[in-house]
C-alpha cells in the first residue's frame, strides 16, 4: 500500500499513524498497472493512440498522432493547442531528441501547466474543513468516504458531515462510509438546509476536538442557479463559523467528463473558490484529460485521483503517470 501520508501536507507532529497494513492489491502494480490493464482489456481504447514510445519531432504525422491522442483523452482543443505549442518550443530549442520518450517531457509540461502548485491536501489547521463539490454522479460521496479512511490512517480524527440533503439515500451511503472509516457522522434529514449540516459538523469537531471535517454536498449541475447559490451559502456559513474555513474546496470531476467540464469548473469556482481537483474513475477507459484543461484554466492543482472502488484506489496525483496514460504509453 502507498504511504498514506503522501496525500497530505501540514501533518506536523501528529502521533505515528495507526496503520494496519491493508491486503496488497492483487495486481501489485498500482495505479499505472491498472490503467494499462484497463486499456489492454478494451482493445478499442487503443484506436488512434500513440503506441510507440519513440517520438520524432521532425515527423509531422507524429505531431498529428499526438494531437489526436490528446483530443481523444478529452484535453479539449485549447489545452491540446497549449500542450503542443509547449512541446514544439521544446523541440525547437533542441529539447526533444528524435526517438526520445515523449512522456517525461509531457509530464514536465503538465506539471508546469498546473503551476507547480502544492498538490497535497493541507490539514494543518484544527479543525481543517474540507468541502467537496461537483456535478451529479462524479463520486463525491465515495471520495469523502475514502478520504475519511486515509485521514484516519495518518492518525487524524474525522467528522463527516452529510450536507447532501437532496439525493435519495445519500445520507445512508455516507454513513456506511463513515462507519467503515470510524469517523463521527453528522447526518441530516431529507430536505434540511445543507449549510446548517456543515455548521453542525464544525460544531461537533470543535466540541469533540476532532482534527478534520469533511463536508459532502449534493451533486448539482452548474446551470441550477438556486443550487449554486446554495453552495455559495454553505461556504459562507462555514467561513462564518470558523475563520479561514473551508481550508480546502475540492471539485470532484469524473474522468469520463467531456468539454462541459470546463463550464462546470468555471461556475463552481464562481460560487466557491476551489483549491484543487479530484479526478475520479480513472480506472475505466477514460483518460480524464479534461482535468488538465480545468486545472490549467483555473490555476488549481489536481490533488487526488480515483482509480478504483477500494480505499487504496484514492491516491495523490502524479504528473508522470498521468502523462503516460494520456499518451496511451506503457509504464517505463
Amino acid at each position: 500500500m502507498a504511504d498514506p501520508t503522501q496525500m497530505f501536507t501540514g501533518l506536523g507532529d501528529v502521533p505515528a499513524p495507526v496503520v494496519e497494513e491493508a491486503a496488497a492489491p492483487a495486481d501489485g502494480g498500482g495505479f499505472f498497472r491498472r490503467l494499462v490493464d484497463g486499456l489492454a482489456k478494451s482493445s478499442k481504447a487503443l484506436t488512434g493512440q500513440i503506441q510507440q514510445i519513440a517520438f520524432d519531432p521532425d515527423d509531422s504525422e507524429a505531431w498529428e498522432r499526438l494531437e489526436e491522442a490528446l483530443l481523444l483523452a478529452d484535453c479539449g482543443v485549447p489545452a491540446t493547442v497549449e500542450i503542443i505549442g509547449r512541446l514544439e518550443r521544446r523541440a525547437a530549442a533542441g529539447g526533444l531528441a528524435p526517438g526520445a520518450d515523449l512522456a517525461p517531457a509531457l509530464a514536465e509540461e503538465i506539471a508546469d501547466m498546473l503551476a507547480g502548485a502544492e498538490a497535497r491536501i493541507d490539514v494543518a489547521e484544527r479543525p481543517t474543513v474540507i468541502l467537496m463539490v461537483g456535478v451529479n454522479g462524479t463520486g463525491k460521496t465515495t471520495t469523502v468516504g475514502k478520504l475519511a479512511e486515509h485521514l484516519r490512517r495518518v492518525g487524524l480524527s474525522v467528522v463527516v458531515a452529510a450536507a447532501d440533503t437532496f439525493r435519495a439515500a445519500a445520507d445512508e451511503q455516507l454513513e456506511a462510509w463513515a462507519r467503515r472509516a470510524d469517523a463521527d457522522f453528522v447526518g441530516s434529514a431529507h430536505g434540511q438546509d445543507p449549510a446548517a449540516v456543515a455548521y453542525d459538523g464544525i460544531e461537533a469537531a470543535v466540541a469533540r476536538g476532532r482534527d478534520v471535517v469533511l463536508v459532502d454536498t449534493a451533486g448539482r449541475l452548474q446551470t441550477q442557479v438556486g443550487l449554486m447559490d446554495e453552495l455559495a451559502k454553505i461556504r459562507r456559513v462555514i467561513a462564518g463559523r470558523l475563520e479561514g474555513a473551508p481550508h480546502e474546496t475540492l471539485l470532484v470531476i469524473d474522468a469520463t467528463t467531456g468539454q462541459n467540464g470546463l463550464v462546470q469548473a468555471r461556475q463552481f469556482s464562481a460560487a466557491t473558490p476551489l483549491t484543487g481537483i479530484v479526478l475520479t474513475k480513472l480506472d475505466g477507459t477514460a483518460k480524464g484529460g479534461i482535468a488538465l484543461a480545468i486545472a490549467h484554466e483555473l490555476g488549481v492543482p489536481i490533488k487526488l485521483i480515483g482509480v478504483g472502488e477500494t480505499l487504496d484506489d484514492l491516491r495523490p496525483f502524479d504528473a508522470d503517470s498521468f502523462a503516460r496514460a494520456l499518451l496511451g504509453l506503457d509504464a517505463a
Binding site: S42, K44, G76, F166, A169, Q173, T223, V263
Partner: protein, 447 residues
C-alpha cells in the same frame, strides 16, 4: 458559453449574400470550424473525421439558395447530416412479453437509479403497472435510493438487501412481478466499468436470466470522448438496444450521444432533464442536432410553452392589462410561467441566434429568484396596489426577502415600466408579451 457553430460560420464565411456555388476555400474554412465545434461538443474524434469528410463532399459545389448566406447554407447541410446520423424519428421502447422486462445498465454515476424511477413513473402514466427490481448490491445505500425513488413514483420495489446475488434478485423479482400482476419490470443494476470483466460477466448473467425486451444503456450527456469505448464494450457484452441520455438539463452539448449513435447504430430512446421524476422526455433527433450545433431548439420551446402556459391565466392577464390592473401578483405569474419552461438561460438558449446575444444580455436566473423573493415578501394588498408601499413597507419587504431596499425600489420601478409598456401595447389587438421583468430583449426579437 461556446459560440454556436452558426455564429462561427457566419463569421468565417462572412454575411455577404453570394449567389452561386460555395468555393473550395469557403468549404475548407467552414470544415475547420465544424471540426472545432464538434470536438468542443464532445463528438468523438473519429466520428468528427468522417463527418467533416461527408459535409465537405456535399458542400463543395453546393448551390447557395437565394435566401441564405453561404454560412447558413453550410449550417443547413451540417444540420441535415447530423440529423441523419442521429437516426430517423422518435423510437419507442419495445415493452414486449409478460411481464415486459427493461434492463438498465451503465457506468457509475450516469444516473441509472434516478432514470429507473422516471421510467417507472412514465410507464405507469401510460396505464401500465410497472415494478422496480433493485440489483445494485454494491454501492452503499443504492437499494434504499431505489426504494425511495419507487415510493415517489408510487411503484413497488422488489429488493432482497445487499447480500443477495444480483442474478437471483433479478429472477426472483420477475417472479414477484408475475404473482402481483405487474406487466413491466424495470431492473436497476449496479454501475460498472467496462474494464471490470467480472462485473460485465455478471451483467450478462442478469440479462440471460431476465431476457429483457429492452436493454438500455444510460449515458451521461456530459461524457467526453470515452463514450464510444464504453458503448462499444457494452454492446459487445450485452448488445443493448436503446440509449438513455441523462442530465440534459445542464449545458453540455451532448455530442457523445451522436458518437454512440453513429458508431453502435443503437437509437437514443429517452432523454432526462432533471432530478425530478417527471423530467423525462422522448428523444427527437433533430433537436439534439440543433443543440450540438448550438442552433437553438425552437420546437422544444414551443412545445414547452404550449404545455405550460395556462390559457385561462393568459386571458385573465389580458383583461387585467386592458383595465390597467396589472399588479405585482400578475408579474409573479408571468415570471413563473416562463420559469416553468426551465432556467431562463436554458429557455433563451433554445431560441436560435440567442447563443451570442446571451453573452451581452446578462440574463441571470438568480435575479429572478430574488425578484420572486421580494414579491413574496409583500402583502396581498401591496401586490395589488404597489402605490401604498412607503418607506417603512420597503424596509420590511427588504428584510423579509433578504434583499436590499435599493433592489426593492428597482423592482417596483420595473413593474411600473412594465405596466406602462403593456398599457401601450393593448392599444392594438396584438398578443401579450410573455416576457419576465428585468429581461432585455435583443433587437431582432423585439416588435
Amino acid at each position: 458559453m461556446l459560440d454556436s457553430l452558426s455564429d462561427r460560420l457566419s463569421e468565417t464565411l462572412g454575411d455577404l449574400r453570394s449567389r452561386g456555388r460555395l468555393s473550395e476555400e469557403d468549404v475548407n474554412a467552414a470544415v475547420r470550424e465544424i471540426r472545432l465545434a464538434l470536438l468542443e461538443a464532445d463528438v468523438n474524434f473519429d466520428v468528427v473525421k468522417q463527418f467533416t469528410a461527408t459535409v465537405k463532399e456535399r458542400a463543395l459545389g453546393a448551390e447557395v439558395s437565394e435566401s441564405l448566406t453561404p454560412g447558413q447554407e453550410v449550417v443547413k447541410i451540417v444540420h441535415e447530416e447530423l440529423t441523419r446520423l442521429m437516426g430517423e424519428g422518435t423510437q419507442r421502447l419495445a415493452l414486449k412479453g409478460s411481464p415486459a422486462v427493461i434492463l438498465v445498465c451503465g457506468l457509475q454515476g450516469s444516473g441509472k437509479t434516478t432514470t429507473c424511477g422516471k421510467l417507472a413513473r412514465l410507464i405507469a402514466q401510460q396505464g401500465k403497472r410497472p415494478a422496480l427490481v433493485a440489483c445494485d448490491v454494491y454501492r452503499p445505500a443504492a437499494i434504499q435510493q431505489l426504494v425511495t425513488v419507487g415510493g415517489q413514483a408510487d411503484v413497488p420495489v422488489y429488493e432482497r438487501g445487499a447480500d443477495a446475488d444480483p442474478v437471483e434478485i433479478a429472477t426472483w423479482g420477475i417472479e414477484q412481478a408475475k404473482q402481483e400482476g405487474r406487466d413491466v419490470v424495470i431492473v436497476d443494476t449496479a454501475g460498472r466499468l467496462t474494464v471490470d470483466t467480472d462485473m460485465m460477466a455478471e451483467l450478462v448473467r442478469v440479462r440471460d436470466a431476465v431476457r429483457p425486451s429492452d436493454t438500455l444503456l444510460v449515458l451521461d450527456a456530459m461524457t467526453g470522448q470515452d463514450a464510444v469505448n464504453t458503448a462499444q464494450a457494452f454492446q459487445e457484452a450485452i448488445d443493448f438496444d436503446g440509449l438513455i441520455l441523462t442530465k440534459l438539463d445542464g449545458d453540455a452539448r451532448g455530442g457523445a450521444a451522436l458518437s454512440v449513435r453513429a458508431i453502435t447504430g443503437v437509437p437514443i430512446k429517452v432523454i432526462t432533464t432533471g432530478e425530478k421524476l417527471d423530467q423525462v422526455e422522448e428523444f427527437h433527433p433533430d433537436r439534439l442536432a440543433s443543440r450540438i450545433l448550438g442552433m437553438g431548439d425552437v420546437l422544444s420551446l414551443i412545445e414547452k410553452a404550449e404545455q405550460l402556459v395556462d390559457k385561462e391565466q393568459a386571458e385573465e392577464l389580458e383583461r387585467k392589462i386592458r383595465k390597467a390592473e396589472f399588479g405585482l401578483d400578475d408579474m409573479l405569474d408571468q415570471l413563473r410561467s416562463i420559469r416553468k419552461m426551465g432556467s431562463l438561460s436554458s429557455v433563451l438558449g433554445m431560441l436560435p441566434g440567442m447563443g451570442k446575444q446571451l453573452k451581452n444580455a446578462n440574463v441571470d436566473d438568480a435575479q429572478l429568484d430574488r425578484v420572486e423573493a421580494i414579491i413574496l415578501s409583500m402583502t396581498p394588498e401591496e401586490r395589488r396596489d404597489p402605490r401604498i408601499i412607503n418607506g417603512q413597507r420597503r424596509a420590511r419587504i427588504a428584510a423579509g426577502s433578504g434583499r436590499s431596499v435599493t433592489e426593492v425600489n428597482a423592482l417596483l420601478k420595473q413593474h411600473q415600466q412594465m405596466k406602462k409598456m403593456m398599457k401601450g401595447m393593448v392599444g392594438g389587438k396584438g398578443k401579450l408579451p410573455k416576457l419576465p421583468p428585468g429581461m432585455e430583449l435583443p433587437p431582432e426579437l423585439k416588435g
